[in-house]
């Protein structure tokens, strides 16, 4: 049998006029919808807020979602004790400007009383999970907002926007709820909580374009600055009391910026002259390396590093 000729397969040029909302408009409205839905369906939501760009964007979206009212939930930060001081300063300033309450859970408290032990490699990112779960339980939070994005990592690419966690905070990737239309199912039982990721569908470039469009302030180390650094694991690492250079690692003064700001002991800087948000947008647009690949030692441990941490309750 012979099929009809290929005439139906013409690229239609006509309906190109109809796009009224830009990509950022669509993503922004999607995120606001998710934030409002979680606030409506849960008793005690909380937002994980580190002062990093993604959590700053989620906070900005929350402010928009409830304007002219205040943001109706508090913030939570798990402080590893290795955070950049200028990020903590920014964090506190931003929290004050939004008039919200911040709870800080400190990894150092756990190390001090023996509930956690320092790792041999010195990195504290994997140690955040226990203080996080304790803080969620202590605050009786049934929903936890995070700024995670699916383009960050292969395991995150498979996580739902509303991700159900059991009482151990564990993610079960083989047993996720289907997410249909924009109908989010927030039902949960006692002890369970939900992680909510309003900017799941944003890319690093979307985040930067939004920061530019909305004129959102960030910690200064996202922009090019001079810093004493040394080379380790193909990254520029900052010289600091928690991340000193070894004798065989010569210290240089370089112009760098950070693409992610996490723990000083595992976050690296990149060579960059991008001093303004417009420069960064241009730089990210042509980057040939992912932000985590460029700057996170902990995600390089294995192909499944993020998956393993998430299963244990990491966000």
């Amino acid at each position: 049998m012979r099929a009809p000729p290929m005439t139906t397969l013409q690229v239609s040029a006509a309906p190109q006029t109809a796009h009224r909302l830009s990509e950022l408009d669509v993503l922004e409205s999607e995120a606001i919808h998710i934030i409002r839905e979680v606030v409506a369906e849960f008793e005690r939501p909380v937002l994980l807020f580190s002062g990093g760009k993604d959590s700053v964007v989620v906070l900005h979206l929350a402010a928009k979602a409830f304007w002219p009212g205040r943001i109706p939930f508090s913030l939570l930060h798990v402080d590893t004790g290795h955070n950049f001081p200028e990020v903590l300063e920014f964090r506190d300033k931003t929290v004050a400007a939004h008039g919200v309450r911040l709870t800080v859970a400190k990894v150092e408290d756990y190390i001090a009383d023996g509930r956690l032990a320092e790792r041999a490699d010195g990195t504290r990112n994997p140690l955040q999970t226990l203080p996080l779960l304790d803080a969620i339980a202590a605050g009786r939070h049934d929903a936890v907002f995070g700024g995670a994005r699916r383009d960050e990592d292969k395991a995150r690419a498979k996580e739902r926007i509303l991700s159900l966690r059991d009482e151990f905070g564990q993610w079960d990737p083989r047993n996720q709820r289907p997410e249909l239309w924009n109908l989010y199912n927030g039902r949960h039982t006692v002890g369970q909580h939900v992680r909510a990721f309003p900017i799941s569908n944003w890319t690093e470039l979307n985040v930067w374009r939004y920061i530019e469009r909305e004129n959102i302030e960030l910690p200064p180390l996202y922009y090019a600055h001079e810093r004493e650094v040394y080379r380790r694991d193909d990254m520029w690492r900052a010289v600091s009391p928690v991340s000193p250079a070894r004798a065989d690692e010569p210290i240089e003064l370089r112009t760098v910026r950070y693409r992610t700001v996490g723990d000083m002991s595992c976050t690296g800087a990149v060579d960059s002259a991008a001093a303004s948000v417009a420069d960064v947008v241009r730089e990210v647009g042509v980057s040939t390396i992912t932000e985590r690949g460029a700057t996170r030692a902990d995600d390089r441990i294995s192909e499944a590093a993020m998956e393993d941490r998430k299963k244990e309750g990491y966000f």
């Binding site: 040029a13 909302l21 409205s29 402010a63 289907p178 249909l180 199912n185 569908n201 890319t203 469009r213």
Partner: protein, 470 residues
């Protein structure tokens, strides 16, 4: 202290209207071994969306596993198979979302696994998609799984259906063989009532007609897959006359009533003392200041006095914007209510007929008490009867009394409260719902309304039966 936020938000006013790239969402589906992950990897790779460190990691793993051949020694499936079990077993377990952009458009790709037990992920991907790419193996043609996926696509009314006939290189680019597959595809889609299907011969492994048109298929003069994706229309588009294609609907998420606790500048705070607005995401259509709207439940009507977008007053809003609507009258509007263009809501009813995509391993028994979620309304409901199941081989409705996982069936449902029930065929957002387990909260099924039941009270005007009393 509140000034910074206000300034930041107002600063975006000019930017709201600025033109920029558009977003296109599509899903990929197919049977196991059709090469779907390879196609996705090829799209990402050839559109330069794969960055150097990802490619390096994948190349390293590919070499370790002795992958070779024409793709230059790269197993593209490794790019999308994100979980350890997937890489170890060489299968795809869950929907993976991928992001890439071309100068024309940005894309969100939902990569849906093809094994029969994971059909629920196919449904997940299809409900938000502007287009679905069905992948079939040119050597095998249309399989039962192809029919099943095409049924899902047809019932969910995915706007654009693309069938990529893959592995055309293994047929030596033979036109007659391709035409035979194409004809069988068109036979099935015609049976399913899919108005338009776009069929493309491709080789994901080699790259024919994926990003660039191939010289090895001179008998095919249509666009490449990527060209198609860059030019198809987006769901929330206007029709040719610039009108929204569906009537205005705003499911109310929250009532914004800050009662004086506001973040506006102190000198403005007095004017926000009595602020009251209904927050939600426009599900369909558009609304202007001055328009008359009706509200269900309650049946009241009012006039729109303001549309707020985080401190920016809009004259008009449309789907899918998240807005806050102010009304002239003090109506009793709470979460779960629907604000709609006047005279467009269907009559209130407590019964409906629906197609159910059963997604839970526990089968559905008639008489099951469940929760349903329509828009922002969650209520108790009773699945009073299963009336049939779609036979995916014959595509006919066969008698059935229960539904098992991956079944697509028909059921009668009784609601515990009045609802303006809309047909999915008339409104894709309002006519869709979730079926939820009342105890453990699992999402049991995706539902779409095929027919509203007898009205319990008149709607606000549309259609027959609007005057029927309880």
């Amino acid at each position: 202290m509140t000034l910074t936020i206000e300034t930041q938000i107002l600063a975006s006013e000019a930017a709201v209207a600025a033109p920029e790239g558009t977003l296109f969402r599509f899903a990929t589906a197919g049977s196991v071994d059709d090469g779907k992950s390879t196609l996705v990897g090829r799209l990402l790779h050839d559109s330069k969306a794969i960055l150097a460190d990802q490619l390096e990691a994948v190349t390293r793993t590919s070499t370790e596993r002795g992958f070779g051949g024409e793709s230059g020694g790269i197993d593209f499936a490794l790019l999308t198979d994100g979980l350890r079990a997937e890489r170890e077993q060489g299968i795809t377990i869950d929907v993976a979302y991928r992001y890439f952009a071309t100068p024309a458009r940005s894309f969100i790709l939902a990569d849906c696994p093809g094994h029969v037990q994971y059909t629920r992920n196919m449904v997940t991907g299809a409900t938000t998609a502007d287009a679905v790419i069905m992948l079939i193996d040119a050597r095998k043609g249309v399989l039962e799984q192809t029919r099943r996926h095409l049924s899902v696509v047809a019932l969910l009314r995915v706007p654009h259906v693309i069938v990529a006939v893959n592995k055309i290189d293994l047929l030596d680019y033979d036109e007659a063989a391709y035409r035979e597959v194409e004809a069988s595809v068109r036979l099935v889609t015609a049976e399913l009532g899919i108005a338009e299907v776009l069929v493309i011969p491709v080789s994901a492994l080699v790259g024919d007609n994926v990003v660039d048109r191939s010289e090895r298929t001179p008998w095919y003069n249509g666009p490449s897959l990527l060209e198609l994706l860059e030019t198809l229309t987006v769901i929330d588009d206007l029709d040719e006359r610039g009108q929204a294609t569906e009537a205005f609907r705003l499911p109310v998420q929250l009532v914004l009533r800050p009662q004086g606790a506001v973040v506006v500048a102190p000198e403005l705070s007095d004017s926000y003392r009595d602020y009251r607005a209904y927050a939600g995401q426009v599900a369909s259509g558009s609304i202007k200041v001055g328009d008359t709207v009706s509200v269900e439940p309650g049946g009241g009507t009012s006039t729109v006095t303001g549309i707020d977008f985080a401190g920016v007053a809009l004259d008009e809003a449309f789907a899918p914007q998240s807005i806050a609507l102010r009304l002239a009258d003090d109506l009793d509007v709470a979460r779960g209510a629907v604000i709609a263009a006047v005279d467009t809501l269907p009559p209130i009813t407590r019964t409906l007929e629906a197609d159910l995509f059963w997604l839970d391993p526990r089968p559905l028994a008639p008489g099951a008490r469940v929760l349903v979620k329509f828009g922002t309304t969650v209520m108790q409901a009773l699945i009073s009867e299963v009336t049939g199941r779609l036979d995916l081989t014959t595509l006919a409705v066969e008698p059935a009394r229960t539904l098992a996982v991956n079944d697509i069936g028909q059921a009668s449902i009784r609601l515990s409260r009045d609802l303006p029930v809309e047909r999915y065929s008339q409104n894709r957002r309002s006519g869709a719902f979730l079926v939820i387990h009342p105890q453990d909260g699992a999402t049991l099924a995706a539902g779409i309304v095929t027919a509203p039941g007898e009205p319990t009270r008149g709607g606000d005007g549309s259609g027959a039966g609007s005057e029927v009393s309880p």
